[in-house]
């Protein structure tokens, strides 16, 4: 290669991105495993027992990272979708489509871990606090995106329609969060709040950060795997796909 600069736009084509993604996936799985191992060890063995909440609080090391990831993935998904819409780039839209199920999973895990935290602590499976409620609505936004794309047969129309949903969602997420927080502060009935997390010790913060990184690497690995499957499905009529070993077999 005489030209040292990488032409990034070369990878905007599904044909060139497919092998690149294939090479990157093992790297991200490794990173996810590494971060996860250290993170879990920190969370469950190193971080001190909480004075008021005992050992049960440790679920925060799953709950908080999954919440962060669910919101982060939504932003990234909306970004890819916007790029796909404005630049008419198929691959960008495929990335958005690939990210959605992982984001939805993160939101779902966040809701479940929130419930598991609430039950032993306050005796209820569900707490209507602002963050959990917003998380629930974010979960519905993910489901809406996925359902819309699944219902539209024409892939290009599905891409563009999904992009509009994602963009409208991104604008509304802050509004929804604000309104739910407002609602929550006015109805001070239950004073339980998952916001009342234990005072943060450095090891706890590290634990959450490492778990977040682990989930981030996992999400990238999953998204890349999924986007390869989407590429194969949508480009199945092209020559380069028909030439692939995994397709010829």
């Amino acid at each position: 290669m005489s030209n040292r600069l990488i032409n990034w736009f070369k990878f905007a084509s599904p044909a060139t991105f497919y092998p690149l993604a294939g090479k990157m996936i093992p790297l991200f799985w490794t990173l996810a495993a590494a971060f996860g191992a250290v993170g879990l060890w920190l969370s469950f063995f190193v971080a001190p027992t909480d004075a008021t909440q005992g050992e049960g609080y440790r679920i925060i090391f799953i709950h908080v990272p999954t919440s962060w990831m669910s919101m982060f993935i939504y932003m990234v998904m909306a970004g890819w979708a916007a790029m796909g819409l404005s630049l008419n780039a198929r691959l960008s839209s495929m990335m958005a489509q690939a990210l959605a199920p992982t984001g939805a999973l993160m939101a779902f895990l966040s809701l479940w871990t929130g419930a598991f935290w609430g039950k032993p602590m306050w005796g209820t499976w569900w707490v209507w606090d602002a963050r959990l409620t917003s998380e629930l609505i974010l979960f519905f936004l993910y489901l809406g995106f996925m359902a819309l794309q699944a219902s539209i047969d024409d892939p290009r129309r599905a891409d563009k329609a999904g992009a509009i949903v994602a963009l409208v969602g991104v604008v509304n997420v802050p509004i929804i969060y604000f309104s739910v927080k407002w609602w929550n502060t006015l109805h001070q009935g239950a004073s339980v709040s998952i916001n009342k997390s234990p005072a943060m010790v450095t090891t706890m913060l590290w634990g959450m950060l490492l778990m977040a990184l682990c989930l981030w690497m996992y999400s990238i690995a999953m998204a890349l795997t999924r986007v390869r499957a989407i590429i194969l499905e949508r480009e199945s009529h092209t020559d380069w796909v028909k030439q692939l070993n995994e397709v010829k077999a």
Binding site: N88, D153, D154, P155, R234, S236, H237
Partner: protein, 201 residues
């Protein structure tokens, strides 16, 4: 004045046509021919600006037509497969609404004259729902006559027309083209309109 270069149309994962060039100048009309599924309707919808081509460009008077280009749309009259009539409104009301959308002033007397000319006398106050298929198409003819647009893009305009109406429409198009207008049509029938080039898909 209407030109297209390198048009490629993809529907789903089928490539209907690729690198198509065409052009229409005042006083000309194009007859788009092809088998069912060849992409005639898709081509016309591209020309109308309803869909975007996978590749290629369409220009009106040298300017590319973009989705929000109202200059092109002021000069365009497009009829697709559907009748584009509201069934619950009368023929007259439908024409009035079309005029409002086109930004034209609606002269009721002129509209009535057009409707009578196409054999709808006595039916202009009835909801379109009770008209026959052929009569509904005749309302479309009235709109063609009323709206003074230079470019006509018509998809299967002769469908459901009886012999007399075919004659009326052919004469409309002939006069339009002779007067410096342009037209792009699809039709399975041979049309009794002089001149015209064929675009085969």
């Amino acid at each position: 004045m209407l030109s297209a270069h390198g048009l490629t149309c993809v529907r789903g994962d089928r490539r209907l046509f690729a690198q198509l060039d065409l052009g229409v100048s005042p006083g000309e009309w194009l007859h788009v021919r092809g088998e069912n599924g060849a992409g005639k309707t898709s081509l016309l919808r591209l020309l109308a600006g309803l869909s975007q081509p996978a590749e290629g460009e369409i220009r009106w008077c040298g300017q590319p037509i973009k989705a929000s280009d109202s200059t092109y749309r002021q000069n365009l009259l497009f009829f697709g497969h559907h009748g584009a009539l509201k069934e619950d409104l009368t023929a007259l009301e439908n024409l009035g609404f079309s005029a409002a959308m086109d930004g034209a002033t609606f002269a009721e007397a002129e509209a009535l004259k057009a409707l009578y000319q196409f054999g709808l006398k006595g039916r202009e106050e009835l909801p379109v729902r009770v008209l026959s298929a052929g009569q509904k198409r005749r309302v479309m003819l009235a709109r063609l006559a009323l709206r003074k647009a230079p470019l006509w893009v018509l998809d299967e305009p002769f469908t459901a027309l009886d012999v007399k109406a075919v004659d009326l429409l052919s004469r409309l198009i002939t006069d339009h083209v002779a007067g410096g207008g342009m037209a792009v049509l699809t039709s399975h029938q041979t049309m009794p309109i002089p001149g015209g080039r064929v675009v085969q898909l």
